[in-house]
């Protein structure tokens, strides 16, 4: 476990709860939550290599694209938490996914790279699409089709009638500092939100 955002997520999750991880990758997070929070749950993952790794870890994984899979597999209010780490910006319809998350679970947890980070603004100001540690791809081969800033995300939540319960903004070393607290949308590189319906 080297990702500090996973530790923050774990702090937000109650012991013995049920968790759904959307785009669970190799299930490192779920594995961590099973060991540390005794959660039970499932991961959705469409990449077969990641599915193999998840099965190797003895984690419940469903090979499916969660854009369609959620509606097919999961009843409303079924989980305590649904989590999506660093995948919101890759979705065709982020707003739809956020609504799906609050449909299937009591609380949603999302992490994403902040497009409003000052280095991104600077690169764009100089006339080029931003490239950074948290956004490493060139514009033509990036999976990130729906990037947003913290303000954009919060506005969308407001429009969707979603209440933000908690928010953490971090730099690319997954730590916080005074600057981040004063001007999160300018100095924050990674955002974590916990939210619920209404």
């Amino acid at each position: 476990m080297n990702r500090k955002d996973f530790k923050i997520i774990a702090e937000w999750i109650q012991k013995d709860s049920t968790v759904l991880d959307l785009g669970c990758g190799d299930s490192t997070l779920l594995d961590y939550l099973v060991s540390n929070k005794n959660i039970s749950g499932y991961g959705f993952e469409k990449d077969i290599d990641e599915v193999q790794e998840s099965i190797k870890k003895n984690i419940n994984v469903i090979q499916s694209d969660f854009n369609t899979g959620l509606a097919e597999y999961i009843d409303s209010n079924f989980f305590d938490y649904s989590i999506m780490t660093q995948a919101l910006q890759e979705n065709k319809n982020p707003d739809h996914i956020i609504l799906e998350m609050v449909r299937v679970s009591r609380e949603g947890i999302i992490t994403f790279p902040n497009m409003g980070f000052w280095k991104n603004r600077l690169q764009l100001g100089l006339g080029r699409m931003p490239i950074s540690k948290s956004l490493p791809n060139q514009w033509f081969d990036t999976p990130n089709i729906h990037l947003c800033t913290l303000n954009d995300f919060e506005k969308l939540c407001e429009d969707l009638k979603i209440t933000i319960l908690e928010k953490k903004v971090l730099n690319n070393r997954y730590s916080s500092n005074l600057l981040l607290k004063i001007l999160p949308n300018f100095f924050g590189e990674i955002a974590l939100y916990r939210f619920k319906k209404y």
């Binding site: 077969i48 193999q52 419940n60 079924f78």
Partner: protein
Amino acid sequence: MVIIMQNKLKDNSVGIVLPKTVEIKYGLQLDCGKNLENFSLTYETYGELNSKKDNAILICHALSGDHHAAGYHSVADKKPGWWDSCIGPGKPFDTNKFFVVSLNNLGGCKGSTGPNTVDKKTGNEFGPDFPIITVNDWVNSQKLLADYLEIDTWACVAGGSLGGMQALQWAISYPSKIKNSIVVASAAKLSAQNIAFNEVARQAIITDPDFHDGRYNNFGVVPKRGLSIARMLGHITYLSDDSMRQKFGRDLREGKLHFGYDVDFQVESYLRYQAQAFVERFDANTYLLMTKALDYFDPAKEYNGDLSIAFENTQSRFLVVSFTSDWRFSSSKSHEIVKSLVKARKNVSYSEIESNNGHDAFLMPIPNYLGVLKNFIDNIL
């Protein structure tokens, strides 16, 4: 001969295996209402049962399968058992670690009591009088085999297609006697389309003039035409359009059209060959029985059609696998199983393997498929 043998052993094979047969002296109450008294089951085992007896895996066969799942019966055999790609030293069902049991199901034609064995009560062959056996009956008979082998709990029960149905039924019927259930290219119930294919196959057999109401052996004949057509039809549905195009395309067998009704295309030649080979090794009454077992399977039926309630008392972990090009047991049928298991909050993993091999993919050594099986099974012990 020695060279062939060495090659086969080198290939992670379980090598030469010998089937065994056990007489079960027990009255088995069948779903159809009849009682089957004293029957025999033919089976093979691979690997060793450990002292704790917790490493036993039961392999369940599909429509035309039997107990010979891995290895060879003799050095002269051209082909190994039907799931040899998955069973053997170092393979997903690793015989260095597990004791693998594979049986010929009741109603089969390869040694276990079935239509072509003699009814001791009458002294005649059962033939069409052999009772219809259900997946549930099979699981009950397999439980008796487990008792005989002194296996209290299966580390895993696994199968593809009709075999996957048995793996599901085990988890439902004997929740505490199975730790893991592997359900490959299967379904919790057949679709109307699937039942329709089975009905065409049955009609082909039953309307063959050599069928004689199932008593063909008394007349010294076999309903070859019907059984051939049934097999050809089945075979087409086990392949995909893509795989047939790749395998045969529109290739002609002799390079030209004959303007007649004999074989022109390679695909016709292939189907006839497969059908011929099948007729020589399979029994028509068993084929009818197996298709009925498929059609009748519906564990959700007694729970108002709610499969998740049928799964409520299960205790095993589940692995469900489907294949993208399988249209006879399409992925949507596996989704139905997975959805119900999730709803019942059971431990389940699901993988939909990319393959253009259609339903037959479950028998093939597809790397991602073997990987998923191996990663899951490695966690069993």
